[in-house]
C-alpha cells in the first residue's frame, strides 16, 4: 500500500486544527468536572448559544472580534447565573441530580435557541478570508488562525491557573475542597467562577467554529459528543490530558479517513474510548494508580 505523503501532511494539519477546537471545548468541560464533579451535559448548548450571540453581535457591528468578546462575556455571565441558580442548590447531592439538571438545561437551551432565533441558520463571517496552496488544495488561513487562537486561549487559561489568585484558589479547591474552605477560600464563589470560565470557553469555540459551519440550534451536538470522549480518554478532570487526547483523536480520525470511509473513520474515536475504559480507565494521559 502506497502512502500518499501529500494527503498525509494535509491530514496532519486537519487533525491539529480540529484537535485544537475540540481541545478548547473539552478543556471547559474537563475544568468543570475536575473542580465541581459536575458532568455538564449543557456544554454543547453553551457552545451553540455563544455562536448565536456572536452572530447577533456580528450582524449588528460587522466586527468578528467584538462578536467573540461579547459572546465570551455574555455566555460567561450566563454560566455564572446557571451555576448559582441551578447547580449550587444541588451541591453535595447524588451526582445523578446534576447530570439530570444539566441534561434538562441542555433541552431548554436548545429549544430556546430554536424559538428565539428560528430555524434559519445564521452566519458569522471569518475575519480573514485568504487561502494558501497546500498541494492540490487551497487551504484557508482562517482554519490555522482558529488553531492558534484556541491554543492561545488554552495557554491563557493555563497561565491563569498557574499564577492568578483565582487560579490558585481553583487548584486548591480541586485538591481538597474542605481544606480550601477551612483556609478561607470562598469555595462556592470558586465554583461559580469555574463554571463561568467553562461556559466562556465553550462560547469562544462556538464563535470561532461558526464561520466554518454556520450557526444553528444543533451545532453543539457533534462536538460535545466528541468532547466527552476526549475528556474520558484524556482522564476526567485532567486539563493537559484532554488537550493531548483531543489532538490525538483528531489526528487518528484524519489519518483513518485516508484509507477508510468517513463512516468508518469516525468509529475510531469510539474504539479508542472503549479500549481506554477497558485498559486505562483513569485516562490515557494519567498515570495508572498503583
Amino acid at each position: 500500500m502506497t502512502i500518499p505523503f501529500d494527503l498525509l501532511l494535509i491530514q496532519v494539519i486537519n487533525g491539529i486544527v480540529t484537535g485544537m477546537i475540540l481541545a478548547l471545548v473539552a478543556s471547559g468541560l474537563t475544568l468543570i468536572f475536575g473542580i465541581m464533579d459536575v458532568v455538564n451535559f449543557a456544554h454543547g448548548e453553551l457552545f451553540m448559544l455563544g455562536a448565536y450571540l456572536g452572530s447577533t453581535v456580528f450582524l449588528t457591528t460587522g466586527n468578528f472580534w467584538l462578536a467573540l468578546g461579547a459572546a465570551v462575556m455574555g455566555i460567561g455571565l450566563l454560566g455564572a447565573v446557571i451555576q448559582t441558580t441551578t447547580l449550587r442548590p444541588l451541591l453535595g447531592r447524588d451526582p445523578l441530580t446534576t447530570i439530570l439538571a444539566t441534561f434538562g438545561l441542555s433541552l431548554v437551551l436548545q429549544n430556546y435557541a430554536l424559538w428565539q432565533y428560528g430555524p434559519v441558520p445564521r452566519k458569522i463571517n471569518e475575519p480573514i478570508t485568504g487561502h494558501f496552496s497546500l498541494f492540490y488544495l487551497e487551504y484557508p488561513w482562517y482554519r490555522l488562525l482558529v488553531a492558534v487562537l484556541s491554543a492561545a486561549i488554552i495557554g491563557g487559561l493555563w497561565l491563569f491557573m498557574k499564577y492568578g489568585k483565582y487560579g490558585i484558589w481553583i487548584r486548591a479547591t480541586t485538591q481538597d475542597r474542605v481544606m480550601a474552605a477551612a483556609m478561607g477560600i470562598p469555595v462556592p464563589l470558586v465554583h461559580t467562577v469555574v463554571f463561568a470560565i467553562g461556559a466562556a470557553m465553550a462560547a469562544a469555540s462556538g464563535v470561532l467554529f461558526g464561520p466554518l459551519t454556520g450557526v444553528n440550534h444543533a451545532m453543539g451536538l457533534d462536538f460535545i459528543l466528541r468532547a466527552f470522549i476526549v475528556v474520558v480518554v484524556g482522564g476526567m478532570g485532567n486539563l493537559g490530558g484532554s488537550i493531548l487526547a483531543a489532538i490525538f483523536l483528531s489526528l487518528l480520525e484524519a489519518f483513518a479517513s485516508i484509507w477508510v470511509s468517513p463512516a468508518q473513520a469516525v468509529i475510531v474515536s469510539f474504539v479508542v474510548l472503549i479500549l481506554t475504559l477497558l485498559f486505562r480507565p483513569t485516562g490515557l494521559f494519567v498515570p495508572t494508580p498503583k
Binding site: 430555524p119 434559519v120 441558520p121 445564521r122 452566519k123 482554519r143 450557526v215 444543533a218 479517513s257 468517513p262
Partner: protein
C-alpha cells in the same frame, strides 16, 4: 439571604409551607377545576364555524425537537397553512380538520412510538408529514398494520415508493430517480462528463447517489469517485480534503445544516471554485442562503420548488401561496425566510388528502380503501391547492410526478435556468404491493 428561601417572609404566599389545611385544599381544588372547566368551554377554532360536526383527525408527524427540528418546524408551517385554509373554506365533506401534531424528536424509535400513539390512542383518520427518511421507513409498517393512509410530506428516500412501497403510503412529490432523469442531461451535456459525488451517508443520500450514478452513466458520463459523510458531521474538512483528481464537477447530496457545512467547507478548501458545483436543490434552500453568503454563488441545482415569481411560477396561485407562506414563516423566524420545498410539499400533501377524502366520500378509517382508490392515479392541475404545478399520483407505486426546476444561485438568489416538464421526469415503477 437565608439558605432556604422558602423560609423568607416574602415567600410565604408562593411556597407551600407544608401546613395543608382542608380549607386551603378545597379552595385550590375548586380554583383548579374552575380553570380547567373554563378552558374546556372555550371552543376550538373550528368549532364556531362547524357546530357539532365531528372533525377529521389528521395526525401530523414532524421532528420539532432534536437535530432535524429546524426543517421540521418549517415543514409544519406548510401542513398548518393547508389545514387552516381548508377549514376556512368549509372543511372537507362539511367537517373540519383537526390537526394532532406529534413531535418525533428526530429519532426513528420515537417516531414509531408516536405513530402508534396517533393511530391507537388519538385514533387519527389519516396521517401526514415525515421529513427524515429513516423515520418514515421505520413508521411505514405501523401504518400498514393499522391500515391507515400516510401522505408523506417530505421523506425522499427512493425505496419508500420502490422496494419498500406500501399500499397505505403515498408520496405526492418527486423522488431521486425522477430528479436524476430530469437533471442528468444538464449535468453531462452542459456542465461536464466526469463527476465526483459527495453524499450524506444514510438512506436518502445513498439512494439518491445510486439514481444519479445510473443516469450519468446512461448519458455517457462517468462518476469517478464518491464520498459518503455521516449525518451530523460538524467538521467535514478531513473527508473533503481527500477529494481530488481529474473530474469536471463536484455533486453534493445534502440537506439541512449538513448542507450548509458541506457548501461552506468545500468552498473553503477551494473545491467548489476548482470544480463546477452542482447538487440536490436541498443544498441551496432559501433558508440556507443567508448562512452561505457568497460561498454558494454559481451552484446549480434541481428542485421541485424554488421561491421565485418568474415564469412559469408567476401565476396568481403561486403568488398567493408565496405571500401566505412568507407571512407564516415570519412567525417562526424573525429573519423572514422565503418558503422552501418542505413548506410546499407539506402544503400540497394535505391538499391531496383533502381531494381524496372529498372524492371518496371518506368518513373515517373504515373507508381507508375507498380513500386509497381515490388517490391512486389522481391527476391534479395547477391551482391554489397545488401552486407548484400539475401532478400525477401514479397508481402502481403511489409516487407523484411533477415538473422540476433547474436553477442557479446568482447574487444569493435563485435564478431559473430550465424547467423540466413532468412528462420528462417519469421513470418506470419498481414497486410490488404486498397483498393487503
Amino acid at each position: 439571604m437565608a439558605e432556604r428561601w422558602q423560609g423568607e417572609p416574602w415567600a410565604k404566599d408562593i411556597w407551600c409551607s407544608g401546613k395543608t389545611t382542608r380549607r386551603r385544599f378545597l379552595g385550590l381544588s375548586a380554583a383548579t377545576a374552575g380553570a380547567l372547566g373554563a378552558t374546556m368551554l372555550v371552543p376550538a377554532p373550528w368549532r364556531e364555524a362547524f357546530g357539532q360536526a365531528k372533525p377529521y383527525k389528521i395526525g401530523i408527524m414532524q421532528p420539532l425537537t432534536g437535530v432535524a427540528a429546524a426543517g421540521g418546524k418549517t415543514a409544519l408551517v406548510g401542513s398548518m397553512m393547508a389545514v387552516d385554509r381548508i377549514n376556512k373554506a368549509g372543511g372537507v365533506n362539511g367537517r373540519p380538520l383537526e390537526a394532532v401534531i406529534a413531535d418525533y424528536e428526530s429519532k426513528p424509535d420515537v417516531g414509531r412510538r408516536k405513530v402508534e400513539k396517533l393511530l391507537v390512542e388519538d385514533k387519527v383518520d389519516v396521517a401526514e408529514g415525515g421529513y427524515l427518511s429513516n423515520v418514515c421507513l421505520a413508521c411505514m409498517p405501523v401504518f400498514d398494520e393499522h391500515r391507515t393512509v400516510f401522505m408523506v410530506g417530505v421523506c425522499l428516500d427512493t425505496t419508500i415508493t420502490t422496494t419498500k412501497c406500501s399500499r397505505y403510503v403515498f408520496r405526492p412529490f418527486d423522488y431521486a430517480p425522477a430528479q436524476a432523469v430530469a437533471f442528468a442531461h444538464y449535468l453531462v451535456n452542459k456542465m461536464g462528463k466526469k463527476w465526483h459525488i459527495a453524499y450524506l451517508d444514510y438512506a436518502w443520500g445513498q439512494s439518491t447517489r445510486d439514481a444519479y450514478v445510473e443516469q450519468i452513466k446512461k448519458l455517457g458520463g462517468e462518476v469517478v469517485g464518491g464520498t459518503g459523510i455521516p449525518l451530523g458531521t460538524a467538521d467535514m474538512t478531513p473527508f473533503l480534503s481527500k477529494v481530488s483528481g481529474n473530474f469536471d464537477g463536484f455533486f453534493g447530496i445534502f440537506f439541512g445544516a449538513n448542507a450548509v457545512v458541506l457548501a461552506t467547507q468545500a468552498y473553503d478548501l477551494g473545491l467548489t471554485r476548482k470544480y463546477k458545483f452542482a447538487g440536490d436543490g436541498a443544498i441551496a434552500e432559501s433558508t440556507h442562503l443567508p448562512a452561505l453568503g457568497h460561498k454558494i454563488e454559481g451552484f446549480v441545482g434541481i428542485n421541485r420548488y424554488v421561491p421565485v415569481l418568474d415564469p412559469p411560477l408567476n401565476t396568481p396561485h403561486h403568488r398567493k401561496f408565496f405571500d401566505e407562506a412568507v407571512a407564516a414563516l415570519k412567525k417562526i423566524d424573525p429573519s423572514g425566510p422565503l418558503p422552501d420545498r418542505y413548506v410546499q410539499s407539506n402544503f400540497e400533501a394535505m391538499n391531496f388528502l383533502k381531494l381524496g377524502m372529498q372524492r371518496s366520500g371518506f368518513r373515517g378509517r373504515d373507508d381507508t380503501m375507498k380513500l386509497i382508490e381515490a388517490l391512486e392515479g389522481m391527476d391534479v392541475k395547477e391551482s391554489d391547492d397545488f401552486p407548484q404545478g400539475d401532478k400525477t399520483l401514479r397508481k402502481e407505486d403511489h409516487q407523484a410526478f411533477l415538473r422540476e426546476f433547474i436553477f442557479e444561485i446568482k447574487d444569493n438568489k435563485h435564478r431559473l435556468v430550465e424547467v423540466i416538464p413532468k412528462e420528462k421526469t417519469v421513470v418506470p415503477p419498481a414497486c410490488t404491493f404486498s397483498k393487503a
